[in-house]
Every structure is written in structure tokens, then in C-alpha cells.
């Protein structure tokens, strides 16, 4: 933070430690936060089961775990921000007025601590910022409330805070509404807001998860930079071990509401003691794909695209918009070939057009250009596409929206047979459904009454298996995988990728894999294309592209992964 902003945001007395005294836990005068035996339960269901940890001033602690491990609830309950939760235990915090238990403080005192001494940043800045106020107003409000600054002063201080987070043109951005900023800028604005009062402790709940990979590193560097300059402690909540390695001093691993292991990052990562920690560290997807022969001229391609272009109509502002529509070109001039038994990966950030290209390749979007699948082009008539539909199938990202919640497993999986093999009898259909489920390692023995169950009874990874079974049943030759594992936890992601690799080896399937995750590409793909702003900027064999990237953008992507 700059010198002027320090003047505008007067430091409370307790902030005057020399910053270096906070860098190491041993030399710190006392613990900043000491959590003892914290339990949180919702309606009798325990989510956090008696965890204890402590943080020294200026320390960076990472709380790692998969979804459902209770890490977010832990952070929220420190500020008593979880509704309808029963908490017990102690959370002793070194507030300026003395040591006090956050869980026992009266609401009015705690309100003073929130934002001033303990600030929080959230995963999704779009929902954490109020869409009706400009970013500057929201930061200024914090300063007025917590620091008692006057209107004019607070606006100036807000601009300086924005500048300190590296937002270009801070004075102009301060007058922007949240939706007018990019994702990275929004997250920076939220960090500026959290740091407005120079808190002693920052709770960062997955601060980079919603951001594109190239931005993640920047935001993390910014956090580290501000942490050093302000000497605050940061509790980083994340599922991403790369972030932990880059950012934190110490790490606490949570599983199922317990902290199973904690210690210095280097130590824990080098020699994990708890099996769960080992499993987490071991969850980087492994490459286990058949070395399918390179494109052979004799073998017909499973999918061949040349000069595919997809454009969406967008409204034209003003009077002219009454008569015509503009267009937004999502995919410009994409050409590629997918050979049998091979995986073509597309990697790119959100908005790069990779999912649009996937939908176009499935014939679900209008496009111009040539796109052949299973030896024939997509036709305008639904009836003409039956053969391609059978050959080209899709698995979507979100396992919670890709299965109809009101259909049973049997109805979901057998759907393809009803369309493509309508002659089958009930018993034959059921046999095929069971076969398909067995292929994705789901059986009646594991889940009694599997066929009659509904999707809500399954976890994310199991749902993704069901989605794969649904497409396997009609024996496709190409699967379009649209971020198939992005919504899953790391350990589950590894299992699903292993399943996909096995299916490819056994059935000679081709994959068209869309992802933003370089690790997944590394594990799965034979060939890779890099997309940015609708254009394919680099393509080639996976090792060529990832090991020796030519385009500067690819270099950034690979470096971040």
C-alpha cells in the first residue's frame, strides 16, 4: 500500500509492529488466532468435528481439503457468518482491545472486528460485490463505517487502495460497476475492499478458483505481496495443492471435519504422514494412454473440421439495433482432425470459444464451414443425423445438471437405446444397461437397487460415471468431453480420468477433450490445440506444444499449470 493511503487510512496502534517480526511464528510475541476444539453442526449434522489450529501474526496458513471437508464452514464460523449453525469450542483472537473468544463475543463487538481486524475475500467476486453500487462506493463505504473517514477522503482512499492492488486506471475503475470489470479486476477490487482497514487476519476462501489459470498466479502474487507489506496473517482456504505450495508457510489438511495433519508446507509435502494427505498429494492425474499410432492416411478420421466458424447474434445498441443485429464470433476458422483411438485436447480460458466449438462439433449449434463426423456432414434435418448422433457423444462438466433429477438411473442410461435400437425388448435393454454400468464400475452389489435410484443419491464422481454409462451404451466412436472433471474433487478427478483412459484403451474410443487444466491435457491428450478469443493459436502433438510452447500465451498457460 502506498504512503498516501496509509495517511488516509490511519493505522490503529496495534499495526505498528515492524513487519519482519511477523514473518516467522517463533519470534512472534503471541499467537494471533488460536482455535481450540471447534465444532460446527447444522441441524444435528456435524460438519466440523473438533479442530484445533493456531496462527501467529503475519503467518500464511493454508487449510486444504476436498469439498465437504468443512474448510469453508470453519472460516465462516470464525466470524459467525454461518446461519443456523450450532458452534462450540473456542476461537481466541488477539484483538486490539485484548484477547477474546470470537465465538463468545457479543454480536455488536464482533461486528466491530469483522472487516476491521478480520477481513474475508470470497471465491466468486461477482456475487460478493453488490451489483448496484460502483466498486469505489463499496470500498469507500467500508472506510466510512470502519475508519470514520469523510466522504471525499474515503473516495480518494478507495482509489489508492485500488491502485495498490494493481488495477490500471484506478480512478476510472472506481466509478465502474462490478459487471463492468473483468474477473481478475473484480477479485482485485474485492481484495482492496478487504484490505481497506488493514486487517490483522485475512480469510481468503478459494480466492482464485473462479479465475482463469493465467490470472491465478497474478492474484496469488498480489496477495503475497500485500501480506508482506501489511504484515497480516492469511488463512487460505483451497483445494488446490499448487497454490498451497506457492503461497503458504504452514498447511492444515482437513478431511471430513477433522484436521488430519498440519505442519510446515515443505515438511508435509515432502513426507506426508497421514494416508489422506498422501492420497491428496498423489492425486495429480497420471498419464496412462495407449500410444496410438499417429494419423495414418489410410484410416478415416473420426471427425474432421475445416474452417468452422460459429457466431452468435448480439443486439446493436441504439436506433440501428431496431433493424439489424450484430454478431459475436465465438469460433473463428477452426480446423482439426481426430483420428481413431486418439485424444485431441483443446485448452483455453473461459470465453476462448472452446465449449462453443464442442457444441458445434455435436451439431447442437449453427456453424459455417465443413464438419464431418463418422464420414458424413451434419445435416439440417434431425433424421439425417441419426448415424452421426450415434457415433459422436458428449459428457458435460457439471454432473449435477447433466442428469435429469426426475429420471431413474435405468431411464437415464437406456435412453440412447430407445432412440438408436428401438427394436430391443425390455430384458435385452436391461442387460445392456447393466453392462454399460459395469463398464463404469457401478454395480448392483455396490448400490442395491441401482437401476431404480435417482441421481440425487449419488456423489459428483458417481454421477459423472452415470453420464459416461449413458453414452457408452450406444457404442459411440467419439466422445466430446467438455471439462469432464472440472467440477470434481482432485482424488475423484483422478479416478474418472483413469476410467476414461481405460475405456479408450479397451474400446479404441477417440476423445475430443475440452479443458482449462494443463494437468488433464498432459495426462490424457495425444494432440492439443490452444484456443484464445475464438482462434486456435497453436496446435500439435501434446509433447511438442507443452514442452516447447511457441506462442507467448501458451507459454503463460504452461507455466501456470
Amino acid at each position: 500500500m502506498t504512503a498516501t493511503s496509509t495517511a488516509a487510512c490511519p493505522l490503529p496502534a496495534h499495526e505498528n509492529f515492524p513487519p519482519e517480526s511477523r514473518l516467522s511464528a517463533e519470534r512472534a510475541p503471541s499467537l494471533l488466532l488460536e482455535v481450540k476444539n471447534l465444532c460446527v453442526s447444522f441441524a444435528g449434522k456435524e460438519v466440523v468435528r473438533g479442530i484445533s489450529f493456531s496462527m501467529a501474526p503475519g503467518e500464511k496458513l493454508a487449510l486444504v481439503g476436498e469439498s465437504g471437508s468443512g474448510k469453508t464452514v470453519t472460516a465462516l464460523s470464525l466470524l459467525r457468518l454461518v446461519a443456523d449453525a450450532a458452534t462450540s469450542g473456542q476461537a481466541l483472537f488477539e484483538a486490539p482491545g485484548g484477547r477474546s473468544d470470537l465465538l463468545a463475543l457479543p454480536e455488536s463487538t464482533l461486528r466491530g472486528i469483522r472487516g476491521r481486524d478480520i477481513a474475508m475475500i470470497f471465491q466468486e467476486p461477482m456475487t460478493a460485490l453488490n451489483p448496484l453500487f460502483t466498486v469505489g462506493e463499496q470500498i469507500a463505504e467500508v472506510l466510512q463505517l470502519k475508519q470514520g473517514l469523510a466522504q471525499a477522503q474515503s473516495v480518494q482512499a478507495a482509489i489508492e487502495l485500488l491502485a495498490s492492488t494493481g488495477i490500471p486506471e484506478p480512478a476510472r475503475r472506481a466509478r465502474a460497476f462490478p459487471h463492468q470489470l473483468s474477473g481478475g479486476q473484480r477479485q482485485r477490487a474485492m481484495i482492496a475492499m478487504a484490505l481497506a482497514c488493514r486487517p490483522r487476519l485475512l480469510l481468503a476462501d478459494e480466492p482464485t478458483t473462479a479465475l482463469d489459470v493465467t490470472l491465478r498466479g497474478q492474484i496469488l502474487d498480489l496477495l503475497g505481496d500485500l501480506q508482506r507489506r501489511n504484515g497480516m496473517a492469511v488463512l487460505l482456504i483451497t483445494h488446490d495443492l499448487n497454490l498451497v505450495r506457492r503461497f503458504a508457510d504452514r498447511v492444515a489438511v482437513m478431511e471430513n471435519g477433522h484436521i488430519v495433519e498440519q505442519g510446515a508446507v515443505a515438511e508435509v509435502f515432502a513426507s506426508p504422514r497421514h494416508p489422506y494427505t498422501r492420497k491428496l498429494l498423489d492425486s495429480r492425474p497420471a498419464r496412462d494412454v495407449a500410444q496410438a499410432s499417429a494419423f495414418a492416411p489410410g484410416v478415416p478420421a473420426v471427425m474432421q473440421a475445416s474452417h468452422v466458424r460459429v457466431a452468435y447474434p448480439v443486439p446493436v445498441p441504439g436506433f440501428r439495433g431496431w433493424f439489424r443485429r450484430g454478431e459475436f464470433v465465438a469460433v473463428k476458422d477452426a480446423s482439426f482432425t481426430i483420428s481413431p483411438g486418439r485424444t485431441l485436447g483443446i485448452v483455453g480460458e473461459s470465453g476462448s470459444g472452446k465449449s462453443t466449438l464442442a457444441l458445434a462439433s455435436l451439431g447442437l449449434l449453427k456453424f459455417s464451414g465443413q464438419l464431418h463426423a463418422a464420414g458424413q456432414p451434419w445435416s439440417r434435418q434431425a433424421a439425417g443425423n441419426k448415424a452421426i448422433r450415434r457415433a459422436v457423444q458428449v459428457v458435460f462438466q457439471d454432473p449435477f445438471s447433466s442428469l435429469s433429477p426426475r429420471m431413474t438411473v435405468e431411464a437415464i442410461v437406456e435412453e440412447g437405446l430407445l432412440v438408436h435400437e428401438p427394436g430391443l425388448g425390455l430384458a435385452q435393454r436391461r442387460m445392456r444397461v447393466e453392462q454399460a454400468l459395469a463398464e463404469v464400475s457401478m454395480s448392483e452389489a455396490q448400490f442395491p437397487g441401482l437401476l431404480r435410484r435417482y441421481p440425487h443419491e449419488f456423489s459428483g464422481g458417481q454421477r459423472q460415471r452415470l453420464a459416461i454409462a449413458r453414452v457408452l451404451i450406444i457404442n459411440p466412436s467419439l466422445l466430446v468431453l467438455d471439462e469432464p472433471t472440472s467440477a470434481l474433487d482432485v482424488t475423484i478427478q483422478k479416478q474418472v480420468l483413469a476410467l476414461l483412459q481405460r475405456l479408450q484403451r479397451e474400446r479404441g474410443l477417440s476423445y475430443f477433450l475440452i479443458t482449462h487444466d494443463i494437468d488433464v491435457i498432459r495426462a490424457m491428450a495425444h494432440d492439443v490445440m490452444v484456443m484464445k478469443d475464438g482462434e486456435i493459436i497453436e496446435s500439435g502433438s501434446v509433447f511438442d506444444v507443452l514442452d516447447a510452447p511457441r506462442h507467448p500465451y501458451t507459454k503463460i498457460l504452461v507455466a501456470q499449470g
Binding site: 435412453e415 452389489a445 437397487g449 443419491e457 458417481q462 475423484i492 479416478q495
Partner: protein
């Protein structure tokens, strides 16, 4: 993230670890989402018992002829059994003077039927909806008495009988109007929502024009042009009644057609009709089901209001609205207005309680606990 965390931790099934098929602890019986909604509905006692009571009342009113009629159920006359309820007998059958349908409340016929070994079983309330009590001891409208338990209206017809038949007509009319409205509304909403684009645009503009027609004036005009009847009223009210629902269905279809499971079905090559029927419709029925009781009570109220204004069912048809207007005309005959009012309030309240319970049961934010 937070909500997701909690939801995941509450997931009943543990993640299977790897290919090793370790049996997973799942015991809760598999229940469909609609069945779970029904279980939640049952837990709401007020709503559940309202449903039970309402169904009971409707079932009873379906047998109104057995409960309240001016004809005996069974007659034994000179060694022979007669069933006046299902067959009309001439007065001559019972040794009367004229070849007209027998009037079983006539003291002469009544006397014949009880002579010697003859007997007749009368319904609990021995008046039909149109039966005029010519033997009332007081001028019409007469107050509640042993003859007419709730009194008579200004034409001497038994009030209890009219209420029973009027309730039945109202409920059946409301049910029919609701079903027609739901079917039309779902079809219109589904087409607009699923097709989107120009179809949606044209449909929406049509609905805006259609809904701005003055419904009441149209009813008055039509009731002047055609002979009033329940069927005509049903048609006229249906023409306008589907629009409220179709907006909700359209919104649900617009939302659900974007879902990945619909895209997956399209990619499988499932036809549009099948996608609408199998995939989107079951997931779009929540507003439809939630509004059913409220729509039904609105329909009953609409019929009652029109009857009250004299634009409804033809004269002589038992109707709650007509009774209300009689109560207004004979303000000192308190038994007319109070008993009709009570029937209406109970009916509408039961429907509202059911609606509230249904809404809670189908609320996606409510947990199963």
C-alpha cells in the same frame, strides 16, 4: 462453495474408491423426487388433513342424490320393489289419479306408500335442489325447522339440498376449469419456452393482447347471445384462464432447455417431443402443481361471483353465488347468507391450506429433514 460444501457432506452415498468395488453403505430406500415431496406434504398436518377432509366432502357430494333427494331410495309397494332414484314412475303406479311422474312428498302418495305392508326408504334429507316445499308452515323464505334443517330460500326450496348440490357443482366446475387451464397453459407455455425465438415472441405478444380483453364484458355479451349454461361458462372462462399458468411453464422450459441433461438428450438424438415430454416437463411441473389448489379456489370464486351477478349458470341450477345474491336480497333471512358463506369459506380455506402445504413440500430450498 459453502452451500455446496454442506450439500456434499450430506450426500448419502460415499464415493467409491477406485475400481475396487467396495460395497458402499447405502440403506435408505430409493424414493423418487415426487415421492419425497409427497412425504414432505404429509408432514404438514394442516395441509394433509385439509386434503383428506376436502376429498371426503367431494366424495360425499358426488353421492348427493342418495343424501338429499325428493325421491325415496327404495319403495316396496304391493309386494313389488321400485327404485324411483333411477327410474321415473307414473303416479298411477301407486294408484294415483294422473299419469304424471309421482310426487313422493305429496301426503296422498306418502300415505299410500306407508299403508299395509308397503314401505319407502327416504334419503336423510328428503328434498332435491329444485324441490319446493309446498307444505311449509311459514312463508318463504322460512327459517330452519324440523322440515328444512337449514330453512328454505325465497322460493321455498330446501337450503341444505341446494348447498350440497351447489358445492358439488362448484367443485366439479372448478376442477374442470383447472384441468382445462392446466392442459392449455402447459401446452402453450411448453411450446413458447422450448421453441423460444420468434415463436416465443409472437406467443407472448398474442397473450398480451388476449389478456387485455375485458373478460367480464365478453361474458355479459355472450350470455346475451347464447342461452346460459355451465358448458358455455366453462368454455368462456377457459379461453382466458390458461394464461397465468403458461407464463410459469414457459419460464421453467426456458430455464430447463439450457440444462446439460437436455443437451445430452439432444446429442443422443432424442426427438424434440420426447425431450419436452420425458425430460423437461417432469422438471417443470413444480409451479403447476403448486398452483393447482389456488387455481381451483380462484375458479370456484369466479363461478360464484358470476352467479352472484346473474351471469353464471342458468336459473334453477343450484349454485352458491345465486344463494348469496338471495341472501343479499333477503337480508333478514340470515340462514341463507350465513350457511352459504360458511360453505364457501370452508371450501376456499381447505384449498388454501392444501396450497400452502404443497408449496412448502415442493420448495427446492427445503431439506428433507
Amino acid at each position: 462453495m459453502n452451500a455446496n460444501d454442506i450439500a456434499m457432506s450430506a450426500a448419502p452415498v460415499q464415493e467409491a474408491s477406485g475400481a475396487a468395488a467396495r460395497p458402499v453403505l447405502v440403506s435408505p430406500p430409493s424414493v423418487s423426487p415426487s415421492r419425497r415431496a409427497w412425504q414432505r406434504f404429509r408432514r404438514n398436518r394442516l395441509g394433509y388433513w385439509s386434503l383428506v377432509l376436502f376429498c371426503l366432502l367431494v366424495a360425499l357430494s358426488l353421492f348427493a342424490e342418495v343424501l338429499s333427494n325428493d325421491k325415496p331410495l327404495v319403495v316396496r309397494y304391493q309386494g313389488q320393489l321400485y327404485f324411483p332414484l333411477v327410474k321415473d314412475y307414473s303416479e298411477k303406479t301407486f294408484d294415483g289419479d294422473f299419469d304424471t311422474p309421482a310426487d313422493y312428498l305429496d301426503p296422498f302418495i306418502k300415505g299410500k306408500l306407508t299403508q299395509g305392508g308397503n314401505w319407502a326408504v327416504y334419503p336423510p334429507n328428503s328434498y332435491g335442489p329444485r324441490t319446493i316445499n309446498y307444505f311449509a308452515k311459514e312463508p318463504n323464505p322460512s327459517a330452519p325447522s324440523r322440515d328444512n334443517l337449514l330453512g328454505t330460500d325465497d322460493r321455498g326450496r330446501d337450503l341444505l339440498a341446494q348447498l350440497v348440490y351447489g358445492f358439488r357443482l362448484s367443485v366439479l366446475f372448478g376442477l374442470a376449469l383447472t384441468i382445462i387451464g392446466v392442459v392449455m397453459g402447459v401446452i402453450a407455455g411448453a411450446i413458447q419456452g422450448y421453441a423460444g425465438g420468434k415463436t416465443d415472441l409472437i406467443g407472448q405478444r398474442f397473450m398480451e393482447i388476449w389478456s387485455s380483453m375485458p373478460e367480464l364484458y365478453l361474458l355479459i355479451i355472450f350470455s346475451a347471445m347464447f342461452a346460459p349454461s355451465v358448458g358455455l361458462l366453462l368454455v368462456l372462462l377457459s379461453l382466458f384462464g390458461w394464461m397465468g399458468l403458461s407464463d410459469y411453464v414457459r419460464a421453467e422450459f426456458l430455464r430447463n432447455r439450457q440444462m446439460d441433461y437436455v443437451r445430452a438428450a439432444k446429442a443422443l438424438g432424442v426427438s424434440n417431443l420426447q425431450i419436452m415430454w420425458r425430460h423437461i416437463l417432469p422438471n417443470s411441473l413444480t409451479p403447476v402443481v403448486t398452483f393447482l389448489p389456488f387455481r381451483m379456489s380462484a375458479s370456484i370464486l369466479a363461478l360464484t361471483s358470476l352467479d352472484f351477478l346473474g351471469l353464471g349458470v342458468p336459473p334453477g341450477t343450484p349454485s352458491l353465488g345465486e344463494l348469496l345474491s338471495q341472501g343479499k336480497a333477503n337480508i333478514d333471512a340470515w340462514w341463507i347468507s350465513i350457511s352459504t358463506f360458511a360453505v364457501l369459506v370452508v371450501t376456499l380455506l381447505l384449498l388454501t391450506f392444501m396450497g400452502d402445504a404443497l408449496r412448502d413440500a415442493l420448495d427446492p430450498r427445503k431439506a428433507d429433514a
